[in-house]
Subunit: 243 residues, 2 copies
């Protein structure tokens, strides 16, 4: 049986990888990933073979991993954050249907929602939703529906991919939708470059978030009706019945 | 400034802790937590002082941490999974209002949603919600509303605390609510004792899940309309526009 690890390397810093992820990479002959993620780990696994494919070439990247495994190499496919949260784990199973002699092992990691939450304080704590604003593979109507339903049910919402060159006004559109159900004064926060050089965070209201420019390396948090600001931190209580 | 780390130790196994979490525990004089979690880490940090409080004594546990920190000790408050996902990070900020000379550092970890997902395959991948079925601090009407809204918007749903002695029929009630919008054939999965002794998983339909008994150590996953079973694994695609 050939072996591929699909590894979540966490938000970026080496010390936010799990022991299991480090062991998988050490056990591998070749480490495959998107260029940016490979650059994050390269220095710590200097004796390994590295292979990259650019963004939007995810299927090619999966095929590459299976082809290398078929040569008898142990392969790690790396993803930033968690391998199963907007990561490669799903596509690897789909492409893997053509490679029945290869076994996949998924190794979880710290995703941007929890990595970013730790920087802001404690914004999640209770029930929350992750929503990606990228409409590359999802119709925008579906994203709209999710923003509305999640707001109506008073979830804390964490947004991935809040912006890109082509989608510079998506966060603004999302905030307008959420404000149909959430107060403009809802406590929100943004974190950029989590656990990497240039990490930065800011707590603000939903109204202010609407008019904030963010880039694709930003993770956005919108509180629920109970979320508050305590000493500059964004904090959601455990429930609705007091401490 | 006194120092407290609020540390997510991951789902259970030592090798699923991050390097940063291990370092925080090594740097600490005293490690505080719920008895079950302290037992999970005790053997790896044998030279530390350990203090525990039972379940439902979370406020006491926070006060204990701040009191120990005021004595000049470096304290780690540990949580299973991630410190900010149904963890102690929020309550620590709230209780911390009375202890202005103590600084909190939150250290994220692998939460049951992503740890369990890795065992089942790739159930999350796309937009998802976490919902706790515990109505200890949240009115059941709020939980119902969230189950309905999340189902209506075709989120993948991950349920925490799906059952307890007093709430043995909550999962059944939740499944009935979700089936108002999700097909009874929706692919679902359960994982028990993630990354601990006795880890077990099962993939089934939503209709089957409704009649399944689970315990409080189980994490439950309900797919979206695209989720499928591939080679026994639960896999959600990246979007709605094909691979």
């Amino acid at each position: 049986m050939n072996k591929i690890y699909v590894v979540g390397i966490g938000p970026g810093a080496y010390d936010q990888m799990t022991g299991k992820a480090i062991k998988a990479l050490n056990d591998s002959d070749v480490i495959i990933g998107y260029t940016v993620y490979v650059d994050l780990v390269k220095e710590y696994f200097a004796d390994k073979e590295f292979m990259t494919t650019p963004m939007k070439k995810e299927v090619d990247r999966c095929v590459l991993a299976f082809e290398e495994a078929e040569k008898g190499k142990t392969v790690s496919m790396i993803c930033s954050g968690d391998a199963g949260v907007y990561g490669m784990a799903g596509l690897m199973y789909e492409v893997g249907k053509d490679y029945p002699n290869t076994e996949l092992t998924i190794i979880p990691g710290v995703t941007a929602a929890t990595g970013g939450a730790a920087v802001l304080g404690a914004p999640l704590i209770h029930d929350f939703c992750l929503i990606s604003l990228s409409d590359l593979l999802t119709p925008w109507e579906k994203i709209e529906k999710r923003l509305l339903c999640a707001s109506e049910a008073d979830f804390v919402i964490c947004l991935y991919n809040p912006s890109s060159k082509k989608r510079h006004d998506y966060l603004q559109k999302a905030c307008d939708l959420m404000m149909q159900h959430k107060s403009p004064d809802t406590v929100c926060g943004i974190v950029g470059h989590i656990a990497r050089e240039g990490e930065c965070e800011k707590v603000m209201t939903l109204k202010e978030l609407r008019d904030t420019e963010v880039d694709m390396f930003t993770t956005v948090f919108i509180g629920n009706s109970q979320t508050k600001k305590i000493g500059g931190k964004m904090v959601t209580p455990r429930g609705y019945k007091g401490v």
